[in-house]
């Protein structure tokens, strides 16, 4: 730690030394007196007095009144500033001389970048100035750009991944608003599979955020051929998931609930289907996805580990287009087109699954989910819709909607023969869960260099589970059937947000962009409502007896979260960039008020020959927490607010990196230190009610315990981004621990997803113009789990009760075997007029590595070390066929 801290300060010192050297030597301070002089006279007097040449033209000061200056021991340049204050000229210190020259008027070049064919806005496109001064702008998350430049003629190059580069000559003699149209380039789309476009990256001088390439995503072999954004995110260095995707994303040692996942700027509380096998994002509707691994700017807050910002497409403003895709597990369809040509576009996407044969396949093999019934069914669906309305050239409205749902049903019948008769016991579990998300947004270009976005947001996640048990007895003696037991239990957990958010972006000049804004969110939580109906024989199902009422937990919580932020992106000197900001937030919950100031700072230097170095410090606070028995972000785990007893989680992270980019290659090495000043864990108890796998939430506040954590690591990335062969190698060496006074006897233990080594190799080879091959190989240290090796029986003398006690010498004391897996696929694309076909054919887990999801020790066999290993995803075929048609 001490070495890390020293290294950080040495780096900062070197940076500032460089900054100082970049300045000219200071000019002297002098006494100066000049009364009722013209500025020209004053400058001549000053030059004579100091012996320093001052070069100017009288015309620069022809409109200026006389000046009166009397100063003592004042810096020379300050005096020059006073003298020339009224002039339209500026000056520079050059070789020890002060040289005045005429100020050029400055104008703003702004507008949108859009797809020439569809009219959709393009996010993250680069507008580079090719003249000597360089610089440029990146279109923002709504496709807007703004550059303030001096009057003149400029050569620009506009580019974006998958589009032809568009050279522009700009004659700037007044403010200009221009919509730049880029032509799609399908050839290029197939070649580049990862990362940002080289132009965009060069402009940003930055290695964050990671832009997840959607064209590359479709080529990656994934289970069933279902392109998945979260699985692609997990291929990045420093990002991990549980085995085969179960358990959500874990970024640099963070919990899954510590990721802020946004869909069109709205927080998503459950980003997965099928317990993590698939994400909720229908990639046919996604426009961009950016991932920050902890070093996110101040405009993002509310989570402590990472941000995944996903934006959906606007839809086609000119022509109708349909897309249908079918894979082994799911099928999706997308329809888009103009409602009013060039003014209003609609995009509708739908995805559903035909998962049941696979569920039966898994259930018969006794897999992780352990579906024991013979009437098992599972399915999910997604629906996305987006309406974009161009009201004026400067006003746009967006209405986005998402609805997704998972449904799991398991019915199990059991016959028990007794002397009194035959009992028929029927268990029925029906669980439904999903997100509903809506956003109404208004973009306004207030001024050519001031952009605003105001969003009304709604997000809801609900999990409902009903468990029924009915027992009937067919009496041997009477031959009559009677109901012996009948109860139904409803479990529900809910979080619902309504919020208003507004953001402003001011583009001062190519070297300075300022963002500020705020939001107000009202949260409603229902952390685990349980209602149990015990029915008497003959009672109607709606009647509840008095005992069951007492077991009902019906807690509803409100909380208000507000935040304001300011974010600046500055290039104070050539090749230097500073991103600095602060987010101030307040949280008003049950009997508690919390506030936090979260500073964010990042400094980057881009040197010659493509090298760059950076360092950052970021602090984060989180007021919402997901808790449950498993703590791996399963849908029945509860979202709860910070309260007086449950304080917010706090994390800070320091990063230091070195990168090189050039000639189609990109490499970077980044070290991080992440301190979890406060993290939470839910302490489960043994009185778990039969609520469909969910934990009874009663008394949850008193069952949360606080602790600390630490995560350190080095991430290495090597990417080849152009040419017929592209790919990446991402390696992470890391250690992540937790420490809770109330757990593991207060000792430090490895975090559940701590993996010392994590390697992902991704290769894309273009075989023909229409065919490419992709392979992904993942390798990682096994996850830690807790296994006991010793036991004894607890019984006090004379006591009636006994308990077998398994001695866990430490939590997470054993590692699962190494995780590794190879996925391969062939991807083809054909075009016949207005019809485009594409297919993917391959194998997931090609050599059928049995990666264990968990291990159960066999305690009955008497054989040392005998255990059963459960694997979630064995070898699986990958298949997808998609067709697009443009009307």
């Amino acid at each position: 730690m001490a070495i890390q801290v020293k290294a950080f300060f040495v780096f900062i010192a070197l940076l500032f030394t460089g900054l100082l050297q970049a300045q000219n030597a200071p000019l002297p301070s002098v006494d100066f007196d000049c009364q009722d002089c013209t500025p020209a006279q004053a400058l001549v007097q000053l030059a004579r007095q100091t012996g320093i040449n001052i070069v100017f033209s009288d015309r620069f000061f022809s409109q200026c009144p006389p000046v009166r200056i009397t100063v003592q021991a004042t810096p020379l340049l300050k005096i020059v500033d006073q003298i020339s204050a009224c002039s339209k000229a500026t000056y520079q210190v050059m070789d020890g001389q002060i040289v005045f020259f005429r100020k050029n008027p400055r104008y703003t070049f702004s507008g949108y970048v859009q797809d020439a064919e569809t009219g959709e806005r393009i996010l993250g496109a680069s507008i580079r100035i090719l003249n000597e001064k360089g610089g440029g702008a990146i279109s923002n998350e709504f496709g807007f750009y703004s550059i303030r430049l001096e009057e003149g003629t400029y050569n620009l190059l506009v580019s974006y991944l998958g589009y032809r580069r568009e050279p522009l000559q700009l004659v700037l003699n007044a403010d200009q608003f221009m919509t730049i149209k880029l032509q799609p380039d399908n050839t290029l789309r197939e070649i580049v599979i990862l990362g940002s476009s080289p132009d965009s990256a060069a402009l940003r001088h930055n290695h964050v955020p990671l832009n997840l390439s959607l064209s590359g995503l479709k080529n990656l072999p994934m289970p069933g051929g279902e392109a998945d954004l979260l699985r692609q995110a997990a291929l990045q260095a420093g990002v991990q998931t549980g085995v085969d995707g179960l358990g959500g994303l874990n970024v640099r040692g963070g919990n899954a609930d510590q990721n802020l996942i946004l869909l069109d700027d709205v927080p998503v509380y459950n980003p997965s289907h099928a317990l993590g096998l698939f994400s909720i994002f229908n990639t046919a509707t996604v426009s961009s996805a950016q991932l920050w691994k902890g070093d996110f700017p101040a405009r993002y807050a509310g989570r402590v580990s990472s941000v995944l910002d996903v934006r959906t497409r606007d839809g086609n403003f000119r022509k109708y287009r349909a897309q249908v895709s079918t894979g082994l597990f799911a099928a999706s369809g997308t329809l888009e087109g103009p409602v009013i040509k060039e003014k209003m576009a609609l995009l509708v996407g739908f995805r559903t699954t035909y998962f049941e044969p696979w569920v039966r396949f898994f259930s018969k093999r006794g897999n992780l989910l352990n579906f024991s019934g013979d009437k098992v069914s599972y399915g999910f669906y997604d629906m996305n819709a987006k309406l974009t309305f161009v009201a004026t050239t400067k006003d746009r409205f967006y209405l986005s909607f998402y609805q997704g749902s998972d449904n799991f049903r398991n019915q199990y019948d059991q016959l028990v023969r007794r002397t009194e008769g035959v009992y028929t016991n029927q268990y029925t579990l029906n669980s439904v869960w999903g997100n509903t998300i809506a956003a109404l947004r208004w973009n306004r270009v207030i001024h050519s260099n001031l952009f605003s976005n105001t969003t009304l947001r709604y997000s809801r996640f609900i999990y409902q589970s009903t468990l029924g048990f009915q027992s009937t007895l067919l009496s041997t003696a009477t031959g009559r059937e009677t109901t012996e037991a009948d109860y139904a239990q409803l479990y529900q957990t809910l979080i619902r947000d309504v919020s208003l958010k507004t953001d402003f972006t001011r583009y001062f000049n190519p070297n300075m962009t300022l963002r500020w804004g705020g939001n107000y969110t009202r949260h409603i939580f229902q952390p685990g409502t349980i209602q149990i109906n015990f029915l008497q024989p003959g009672q109607s199902p709606s009647s509840i007896d008095s005992i069951s009422r007492i077991l009902t937990n019906n807690e509803l919580l409100n909380a208000v979260e507000t935040e304001v932020y300011i974010d600046a992106e500055m290039k104070p000197f050539k090749n230097w960039m500073i991103e600095a900001g602060v987010n101030g937030s307040a949280f008003l919950g049950r009997q508690s008020n919390y506030g936090a100031l979260q500073p964010r700072f990042r400094l980057q230097h881009t040197g010659s020959k493509g090298w760059s170095q950076w360092a950052g410090f970021h602090r984060h606070t989180q007021y919402l927490h997901q808790i449950g028995s498993f703590n791996i972000s399963l849908p029945f785990e509860l979202w709860v607010p910070s309260t007086r007893k449950v304080p917010p989680e706090r994390v800070w992270q320091g990063t230091f990196g070195l990168g090189w980019r050039g000639a189609g290659w990109n490499t970077q090495l980044e070290a991080y230190y992440k301190k979890f000043e406060r993290v939470l864990s839910f302490v489960a108890v043994n009185d778990v009610l039969l609520n469909g796998g969910a934990e009874d939430a009663s008394g949850w506040e008193d069952r949360i315990t606080g602790g600390t954590g630490r995560s350190t690591g080095i991430e290495f990335l090597l990417e080849k981004t152009t040419g017929p062969t592209t790919g990446s190698i991402a390696y992470t060496l890391s250690e992540s621990t937790r420490q809770f006074p109330a757990l593991n006897s207060g000792k430090v233990y490895p975090f559940r997803f701590d993996r010392r080594h994590d390697l992902k190799i991704n290769l894309h080879q273009r075989l023909f113009r229409w065919l490419s091959a992709d392979a992904v190989w993942s390798f990682a240290t096994g996850n830690p789990i807790t296994l006991g090796s010793v036991k004894y029986t607890h019984q006090t003398p004379g006591g009636d009760q006994t308990q077998v006690v398994y001695i866990f010498t430490a939590v997470n004391n054993y590692r699962l075997p190494l995780y590794h897996r190879l996925d391969v696929a062939l991807n083809g694309q054909f075009t016949h007029g207005r019809l485009q076909h594409g297919f993917q054919l391959g194998v997931y887990n090609a050599y059928n590595r049995a990666n264990p999801s968990y291990i159960l020790l066999d305690l009955e066999s008497g054989v040392k070390g005998k255990a059963t290993q459960y694997t979630l995803l064995p070898l699986l075929p990958v298949f997808r066929y998609e067709v697009k048609y443009q009307f």
């Binding site: 015990f534 489960a684 108890v685 009663s698 010793v790 004894y792 264990p852």
Partner: protein, 307 residues
Amino acid sequence: MRKSTHVLLVATLLLASCARDLQIDLPDEPARIVVVSHFTTGEPFQANVTLSQPVYAVDDEGTPASVDITVSNGGQFYTRLLRKLDDRGKIFFESSAVVRPETPYTITVEIGGYPRVQATSSVPPFNGLESFRVLDSIRIENLADGKKALRIPLELKLPNLLPVTGRYYAFNLRHEKYVYEIINGQKVFDYPEEADTYFVTDGPTLSLLNNIAEPVVLVNENFWNDNRRKLYLDAIIPFNPATDEVKRIFLEWRTLSEDFYRYHLSLARQGTNQPLSDPDAVFNNVINGYGNFSGYSVSADTLIIPN
């Protein structure tokens, strides 16, 4: 070609099994002495002593043949525990001297061939209830089997001034009812019957009560946060109106040492060792061994149930 395709297909399906046996290289943990002893004021020390076993062992651990158990106080020998048999013929160890309140005791257990084990604890200062009462009217509930049950709302109140830390309590409810015989239409007393009393309460309270492998219910220390001093329970006592009369409810209230509390809380949490959740390590205050040596103080209250 066709044959090889079939072979490949069958091989693929066989390999695609999701659950398979695995041999884990579990570390060889040497057997250690296990001592389980809870003690309270005025009673002799009692202990069960066994040896730990590998998790895969299927045999009963039994009591070692030669065991020497002593209890000391402040480094001075206090008493020795001798081998005895309980009513079921099971071996345990008991002292002749009795426990004194708030005195730190150290138990030492020696068995040839095993490291000597020691543990220290004491009976904590007693922190009794301020009141124990029937809160509201007693109701009669109809049960599913046609029988009836008394539902008795109870309030257990602790004093307002509780210790800042160490709020470790447990309780047990029992009741006594008289069973009558009907002879010639007359109720004739037959015998008294004493049994454990079931209770129900609200969800948040229930979540902070743990059933443990002792004849008491453990109250989570967090229950007493927020200046909460009262514990509300509804005692449920099944009875036959024709032949039974519920007479009394007995409450045993224990103030626990931290050693007792932490040990049993950690055992209670072992119940949720689901495959994907983190189990907690068992609290252990026995040096070089396993088990628990801990004290508690106890009081008894009785409520008379009106006819």
